[in-house]
Symmetry: C2
Subunit: 404 residues, 2 copies
């Protein structure tokens, strides 16, 4: 049984967090440095952006996680520390400062950055802020969630409990989504903590499997960031027998992880830059899962469809168009499209052609904030879900603003 509980990264036993303004950003009301700390050294796993241009922190984090363990996560916003000549050095220095303040080894630290690319990151504010950040550690997952925000309009956190080996465990996370006030990249960062005991190998397997159908199925604007990272720390303090192989406990962990990641996916999609609506495209009846994923993602990424959703326009031709150019093998004459929301659902296309429907009813359904685009392909059992958002004036405004 998975139950949602309060909090985020501090919900699991043995985790504390904090977020402060150290001065990377000029706006003093905006926290720009976050820390997550585990009492005990924890099994650690991570996945990274596939962009060839990678932020320096990713390189350092990869090295630090090579042994499968970590004890803290340090993350700044306001500067991505990417495409800088001294990026690696700064990321390592950040870890050294955190290690000293926490009294742990520097290579037990995960480091991440989000913000403008190609501008040198000054270590001074980080050095000045580190002590207060570490001393203030407590049940402040919300402050940590704030410290990693960029153009996010709401902080994103979630936690759930589940049972492994008869023991109640907790898993929670925080995320930042897409966009920056001082814009450069739609960067996604996710930090997850759990007190469940699980080996590094199984933890990595769980995460690598899960992201295929969760974070890799979210798109705000089709731009894959240079700094994306999802990290999980598992400190074992729940006291369950360590999960070291696949089985019931691993399945329970996977399910709990998935409920955390799906929740964060929805929050990231719904808070995409300028978004007024969250879109969820679910595909059924594809010839296989890979095909279902290609179709769902193509639909969620279509600028034309995203703009139509902004306008609450039941323009199903754009859905078919996006399926058609997705590259997936689909029989166009079997496609069905239904739009849904809290206001109801309406079939608009069957067997690849339009069906009569009430435009008024459709407009009512599409005027809600959470829109479902349900596709049936009639070719098999393949299913997938993808999340995105509408394309709005504000997306253009946020990203067209002068950087200088």
């Amino acid at each position: 049984m998975i139950q949602t509980v309060k909090g985020g990264v501090c919900a699991a036993k043995g985790f504390t967090a904090n977020g402060v303004h150290c001065g990377i950003r000029k706006n003093k009301t905006k926290r720009d440095l976050s820390l997550i700390f585990s009492e005990k050294r924890a099994a650690a796993a991570a996945v990274y952006t596939t962009n060839l241009v990678k932020g320096a922190p990713l390189t350092v984090t990869k090295a630090h996680l090579a042994d499968g363990y970590a004890q803290a996560i340090i993350c700044n916003s306001g500067n991505a520390n990417t495409c800088n000549a001294n990026g690696i050095e700064i990321a390592e220095e950040t870890c050294a400062l955190a290690a000293k303040a926490l009294g742990i080894a520097a290579d037990d630290i995960v480091v991440a950055s989000t913000g403008v690319i190609g501008q040198p990151l000054d270590i001074t504010p980080i050095a000045n802020g580190m002590d207060a950040l570490a001393k203030g550690l407590g049940d402040f997952g919300d402050l940590a969630a704030e410290g990693i925000m960029t153009t996010d309009t709401v902080k994103k956190e979630v936690a759930v409990t589940f049972t492994a080996g008869g023991v109640t465990c907790t898993i929670g996370g925080i995320a930042k989504g897409s966009g920056m006030i001082h814009p450069n990249m739609a960067t996604m960062l996710v930090f997850i903590t759990t007190d469940c005991a699980i080996s590094p190998a199984l933890l990595q397997k769980a995460l690598s499997t899960d992201v295929q159908s969760t974070f890799n199925m979210v798109s705000v604007d089709g731009d894959t960031s240079t700094n994306d990272m999802v990290t999980v720390l598992a400190n074992g303090m729940a006291g369950n027998k360590e999960i070291t192989e696949e089985g019931d406990d691993f399945a329970a962990f996977m399910q709990a992880l998935n409920s955390v990641t799906v929740d964060l996916c929805k929050k990231i999609a719904g808070d995409g830059e300028g978004a007024t609506k969250r879109l969820e495209c679910s595909v059924q009846g594809a010839k296989d899962k890979a095909t279902a994923k290609i179709v769902a993602k193509s639909v969620i990424c279509s600028s034309l469809l995203k703009a139509a959703m902004f306008g609450a326009d039941a323009n199903w031709g754009r859905v078919l168009c996006a399926i058609g150019y997705s590259g997936a093998e689909v029989d166009v004459t079997k496609i069905g499209v239904t739009f849904s929301s809290a206001a109801g659902s309406i079939e608009v296309c069957k067997d690849g052609a339009g069906v009569p429907f009430s435009e008024e009813e459709a407009k009512k359904i599409l005027s809600e904030h959470e829109i479902g685009i349900e596709l049936t392909l009639g070719d098999g059992d393949g299913e997938a879900v993808a999340w995105g958002c509408d394309l709005t004036y504000d997306y253009v405004k946020i990203n067209g603003d002068y950087r200088t």
Copy 2:
């Protein structure tokens, strides 16, 4: 020597055209039916959208061009005749009506449609308008160019002369770009006519080769239409010896065709939905041409970069980001980026990292209407150019408007 001359599809000998309002659109001031006619039956070639969802007119046109010849092109705007149960029937009926009015065979007619998807196309206005359309044929390539426009803000035509076998030949074309007032698809249609004598096989070869580096390198919003089509008619009336094999004459023809298609590409990109700026991304030093094309297209398609260009923001990090996720094999540490326009040019990134530059100067350069994004990759001789436009409030407005 290629020389630009006046006109479009009627510049070459033996071609007449016309465009009328027949009533497919409600707005009586908007022409919605265009006809292009060749005195003599012409060699014909075409390329079509790769979208699996294809407009019915494409199916009919493909069948009609199977023998490599055609004599007329009929095209309506206001309705794409796509995803309709009786689409094929309507497209065939349109050809039959044109054939009767022109006194030629129905299978010598190219038929195309652009407009809303999934709404039955009524043959009545087409039937009513056909006689006037055919009787009014003359040196009216501009009216034909108007009749295929949707949200295009300017009509697009171009013509050039060239020499093949010592004879002056002419080639010209019209195009419609992306967008519809009653929006559905960003549809590109291009009709080209020439009096050069060339065999159907060589004409098809020329067109198929040319589009790889021209129309296939244009993106307004990444949405591949269901109705895209590029057609060339070559009636041989210039009197040159028919080009039946590769050689100097074929090369001259290819070059002339390319000058027409590149011109139309630029016009389509510059008049993309809501665009205030045309973007041209040129890549040099890629390890091969395929890599150069992938990189150029990825940059031109980035929503983040497109929004930055709207804001005249020299945000080169977004260029690197788009190169990094393009899937192309690139050495990030060798990338160079220069922005250019009529106001000058400015280097912003060298060897994958930022170089100091004047933000003021950069803003001046990016405030022009035609922006160059020049990339050097330092890996070899591969070159490519891609065309696009900025992402603006008006793109969202045009495509978010209620369809109903």
